[in-house]
Amino acid sequence: MLWPAFNDPVHDSQRLFRQLLQAMAEPGTLEMPRAPEPPREASIGPALWGALLTLCDLDTPLWIASELDSPALREALRFHTGCPITEDSAAAEFALLTSNSLAQGIDFSIGSDAYPNRSITLLIALEHLEASGPWQLSGPGIADRRHLDIGEADGLMARLGANRASFPRGMDAILTCNDRLVAIPRSTRVERTDQEVRPCMSP
């Protein structure tokens, strides 16, 4: 069965791009894009599928983690985006992966000091994504701080937290769970706060 694409590619992808831009500009805020639903048995949800349809084309090599890979996904990507699928993670512009994939020490490009933009954007499928929880985000785009719970994903957050040490080189991430997405660009400071119960500040 062929995966569905946007009904109105020009305007639907524009709308979804603006949500991605908003997510990247205000890290930690949840966006709920309107995107076509992949088939029930698919390994990725509509938010991630919508991001792929919006960003990928012939110019963007995509690397796919084995746990998400399938002939149906490849066929859908080939038909709707034409993006080349690469086995060479270091040459990829986008990577499709889960929070566990990064634990396997895959080599992604984080750009150079002169061209830090020539770097990977991670597109991550999560089981859990809430705009509150133990992970504290701060930095550009965040007035004070924001919080996230992404389930069991310490390795992923450790990797994204390491961005600050390599800045301006680094990897940018779009985290998705079913119909929701959130972005953590390399400029974001990521800390674990372990605040199970947050004190109530107001009387």
């Binding site: 012939l58 954007t121 785009g141 007035a143 400029s187």
Partner: protein, 277 residues
Amino acid sequence: MNGYNFAYLDEQTKRMIRRALLKAVAIPGYQVPFGGREMPMPYGWGTGGMQLTASILGADDVLKVIDQGADDTTNAVSIRAFFERVAGVETTTATAAADVIQTRHRIPETPLEPGQILVFQVPIPEPLRFIEPSEQETRLMHALEEYGVMHVKLYEDIARYGHIATTYAYPVKVDGRYVTDPSPIPKFDNPKLHMSDALMLFGAGREKRLYAIPPHTRVESLDFEDHPFEIQAWDEHCALCGSDHSFLDEVITDDVGSRMFVCSDTDYCLLRRGEVA
């Protein structure tokens, strides 16, 4: 739509610019090269800003275009008419009613709101260009954070004039890392870049560079402890609305050289006059 793509650019070009914009936002103040397209207007007419606007604009957006603070200059009118024609979008002169504001040389006086996007037209994106003509060298200077020359240039001003003479395109440092050209806005507008509620995108058409300042981002104007950054100030008030806090233009009112000072932001001035009346 008259044989045009929506918002003029083809979808592949928009995707390329959109991907570059996401990287620009992720690396605040860093200039991302992009494969710009020719626009049906000459360079110097804001083709860089227009390409960004064309890539982000949606059919439901309300667009405002300003040039030196005014909505009614030839440049602003042409760009507004262009997007009305190729995207069918609604346009406005009211800052608060706009989703996307394309601007040349000013930031509106009315504070921007969360969700609004300000798109700057940039003639020369590289703040180090007048010190170092080589692109390769300036890229290296940014990579190594070698910004001493910029301070030397500003300090030479102080030695010569007793103050920093730069009043437009006054360089800023974004989130403590990249020295960035805020485009030729008056330094009066620099404080509005700091911790803004709105996203700010910058497009240079000739040099094919784009960069961004996300909302809620630290933006400092370069200065010295003994010569802190200061904005322009006027003894006069706006002759039309009485404002004592806007950026003022001196205009000649008749052919015998009479002069008055008025707000450069025409929408802001009209709004204030409406409220006063």
